[in-house]
Symmetry: C2
Subunit: 344 residues, 2 copies
Amino acid sequence: MKKGRQVTMKEIAKKLGVSVSTVSRALQDSPELHIETKRKIVEAAKEMNYRPNLLAQSLRSSRSKTLGVIVPEITSHFFASCISGIQDLATTRGYNVMICQSNESIAQEKANIQTLVSSQVDGLLISLSRQTNTYEHLYELYDREINFVLFDRVQEDIPVSKVTFNDVSGAYQVVKHLLENGSRRIVYVSGPEDLYISKKRKEGYLRALEEFGVAEDPSLILISDLTLEGNLQVAQHILRMDPRPEAVFCMIDPVALDVLTEWKKLGIRIPEDIALAGFTNNPSSAVVEPPLTTVAQPGYEMGKLAVSHLLDQLDGMASEDPISIVLDTILVVRKSSQHFPVKK
Amino acid sequence: MKKGRQVTMKEIAKKLGVSVSTVSRALQDSPELHIETKRKIVEAAKEMNYRPNLLAQSLRSSRSKTLGVIVPEITSHFFASCISGIQDLATTRGYNVMICQSNESIAQEKANIQTLVSSQVDGLLISLSRQTNTYEHLYELYDREINFVLFDRVQEDIPVSKVTFNDVSGAYQVVKHLLENGSRRIVYVSGPEDLYISKKRKEGYLRALEEFGVAEDPSLILISDLTLEGNLQVAQHILRMDPRPEAVFCMIDPVALDVLTEWKKLGIRIPEDIALAGFTNNPSSAVVEPPLTTVAQPGYEMGKLAVSHLLDQLDGMASEDPISIVLDTILVVRKSSQHFPVKK
DNA sequence: TTCGTAACTGCAGACGATTACAATTAATAA
DNA sequence: TTATTAATTGTAATCGTCTGCAGTTACGAA
């Protein structure tokens, strides 16, 4: 293939014997142009299939009308939903979107930021990788006065706007649900302790226990590294506990699903023998047997809100001060939690 | 926030009292520069945190080092996998990626193409929307000599490179598996007939039947519009058939999952009463009860191959003539197909 | 007849980076 | 000493678009 040349204003100008600036004005529908000239130019442009070169426009205006998005992984249904929401809203507001995935690696996350900044994106939407435990790269963005918004996986101390779910209340709701069904010995399967969600969901878990007058029992708080092996170890560990817990709340659905599969293999009945609940509402959670009680996080909405706030910021429509938008989660009760231990 | 000004070559040049072109050469490590000058410039650039403006570079070189991707929907696990593969490979080869979703709408698909072309992407990777039944927008790309590759959802007649799965052989394999388990009355639940995959998978279905000497029975070929309602109607229709089919092969997993759910609700046992199989290997298919026999399509690999070929094309490493890459699918046998009718 | 004023259009200089070509200097050869 | 050449750096044009300012008409008013 030869290089398919694009039609430029210069070519339109030459064809019509006018100057490039006149063409430019005509295509912008400038009022200071003779109506007939304008008509001819617009017509010729259509005929020649002219498309403006966004690169040149961006360079000239120093606004690329492009946003950068960084998520830990695209294949996660939750993040895919966020991206979808971001896309849809950004498009309606005339922005393009460049998406990168960090693959849960801080090095990749930094590289992504570099690339997107070099690409002159007007702003960034970032959900941090699990590995991210230092934040200079974010402070650097802040220092360079590059607009960005954190969503879902955030770092609390950075003075930028954030969109998160109310993890505390979500966890509180699901644990309260388990308590209301009569369970008292409830396990919390946490991820690594430095993870934001590990902490927040633990907080909700403890709050619910406290409200029901159940004392905190450290032996009921287990930690998985979120790998399959880690999850299976936890599943087995729970069965060996004596007395056996009445319910288990896993920090995220994938953990709950691994636990569920392992238990079914071992002949444990859910929810008859033990209740189980997760958090996220993965698509799989609705179709497993038994269906998993969980907490839904509307990712599409989160994406929309995050991008909407970022664009307001860019347009100067938002206040100077960073804000924190907290979205409510939705408790989704399914069969896996229908276990009613009789209290003595 | 003020507009965070980026450091440019001009500023480095001014600071060091050299010309912009010298700075440019230094940063490209040009050999015709005095080594000491070069060192000072590189140092200053690092110190001032200089980042090249990709927009300007692209405009100058007419190569944006960016690829455009259009998929029907990002939230589909399969397409998310493709995107992930595309991203990973594109990144290692120094390209950025802009992703758009058509939401299965041809109008959106056209709009996406316009945007990406205007953004001066160097090439496009497109998977067509379900609604796409005219192809002028693709021929226009072709006429304008814009490089693009079709993947998964392709149109056969367009003379560009394509990456697809061997749908015929995939369907053949799974139907053969059903036949080997003893089924003879096998239903094929197709999507709309003009869909590429509807046709191809039907072809494989028929080939397997023929190989086993089973006559084609048009009443066993059902069509769903792929909505939940359509799928449920099909599910119910199958149960009313007399004699009842021994096995059902659904064109895509989501149909099979809807059928499975509906049948379980109606007390039909799978696979004891009837065997069921799908196509795609969605994550859900592995966790439903019973787990669904299906045909896996390695999306990540497909994405990698598609982008790899596109980049070869851009680099002039690929032949002028379009090629068709056909990937093999993988039969995944699970419990839902373990039904062994006794042949009389 | 001359001038002011619209009404149009073009010129030229950005935006940031690259690169052919010219210019300068210093060093070597004749 | 002068011509030649290599080494190093600067000048200016370019990519496609936008826009402040200046220039050119034509028109009616004085």
